[in-house]
Amino acid sequence: ACGSGGSSNSSESGTTAGKEFKVGMVTDLGSVNDKSFNQSAWEGLQKLQADFGYDVKYLEPQSDAEVEPSLLQFVNSGTDLTWATAATLADAVTNIAKNNPDAKLGIVDADIEGIDNIVSISFKENEGAFLAGIVAASMSETDKIGFIGGMEIPVIQRFQAGFEAGVREIKPDAEIVVNYAGVFNRVDIGKSAASTMYNDGVDVIFHAAGGTGNGIFNEAQERFKAGEKVWVIGVDKDQSLEFGNDVTLTSMIKNVDNAVYEVSKQAAEGEFPGGQVVRLGLAENGVGLADTSDINVPKEVLDVVESYKEKIISGEITVPEQP
């Protein structure tokens, strides 16, 4: 069942009747259900479908090389707005946008400026991580605090920088132990790294290591069951929802779903913020601590967090981006 317009080569069976707003999404090499970025973005799109009946769809390319064809698949099938949900897709998005000036594209977690048919959403991870650092430092009893990163790349370094700054703010003398696992998807390596840190006397670990980070939770839970008290600070989403409250101190979240939802809605309403970089920090409610933080973090601490949040928003404090 081909489209009526002629230019569309979509072979999907759904309607191509015209009125309906179509949003597509291309994941990075993970899956759409990665409990992280891709999933969050997809949830935003699903909400759009539920709220306004938009036609939403996604593709999961299997290799870097497949990214462009996947984007094009959407572009050519008349999709109104196509999202790419990772920084690694930036080059492909730029290319496609240049070659298809009529197409509208969006990218999450990257800054592409000045191209009229691309909107970028990026986050000030360092600001969120700063707050996580405040919590970690306030809650640590050993004054030894851990950070585990996936790979030593700029985004992750932003996490590290913000976190370290936050910790120093509260406890300038606290020891911060840093470990880069080298991978985003090896749970066992994350677990071993966490084990090493906890053994070393660390009692709070903040991670920005994707799936590798799951190992940190597993290690903490194991210790919890054995009667030890250790904390993990989750990342990207509220990880206490997955790993429970026994070990999850709080999570530094990135509100990808909201961002995608809002920008898509603007586009549908004809107000596509093309060419702009929507930079979301604490002020824009793009990053922050999870709502469930109050379960394990005492009110006094949260109050401190709140005060720093205001200082950052007001510009009184600038959080570094480099560790």
Partner: protein, 315 residues
Amino acid sequence: MVANIISGSLIFATALLFGALGGMLSERAGVTNLGVEGFMISGAFFSAIGANFAESMGMGGFSPWIGLLSAFVFTSLFSGMHALATLKYKADHVISGVVINLLAANFTFFLVKLLFDGAADTPRLRNMFAKVNIPVLSDIPFIGDALFRSYPTTYLAFILVFAIGFYFFRTPAGLRLRGVGENPGSIDTAGINVMKIKFWAVMLSGSISSLGGATIVLTTNGNFSFNTIAGQGFIAIAAVILGRWNPYGVMMGALLFGFAQSIKDQIQILDFASAIPTEFFYMLPYIVTLLALIFTGRKTRGPKALGVHYDASVR
């Protein structure tokens, strides 16, 4: 810290050890096993499914054992394919192994999507294996921490090493199995069914390797996703070769990897570590292995009839 390294090495080594012991078993019977990765993927998948099911049946702390068992049993789907292809239909062993890897990966990922509504991983297990302290022994200073506070699977893997060692070198069946890998003609003319031995070796091989995958899910990961097993099967094969197809050697090979892997974390928390590129630590396990081979290496001789199809009428 040394105790930590040893204990960490044991834990990293466990999954590899299962994978490698399985691989070794089939190779000792003359069937090349490049499918260890696939068997481990299968083991990881079925253990997650099995443990999940057991949890939903309310088996609580017992469910990891069900997971282990499921891995062992259901991986025979794949080992059966390897046996069928290599033994009955005389497919090239290497090709069959490659197929097992491809098929296990795609099949399990597909099933995960199918069973869990498009999810990329299986639901998180609430009950995983907990470390078991061996009474008395675990209280010995240093050694206790290093060796006797570990997961049941770790104990199991090391018990298996000795069990297979006993089987190989002390029992009639082991003698025959080793004979099959060296010179099946000799076994055949001694009136023993070569194909039967090979068949069971391949079947068990898959099941034992699968425990490696299960270990990863049931002790560290807590669920199965498409990158739960990412190349560990190939490292396990390296351990088989490094250990020269001998259960104790294979154990040392797996421990070497475990050691190199866990020492990385220990070094990384030291102060001077920041002066060295992180990537160097990631390379460490692989460099250590190469160096180990260079210094212990020389000729590694596998079973003589490895990878050769046995056919009584061909000389």
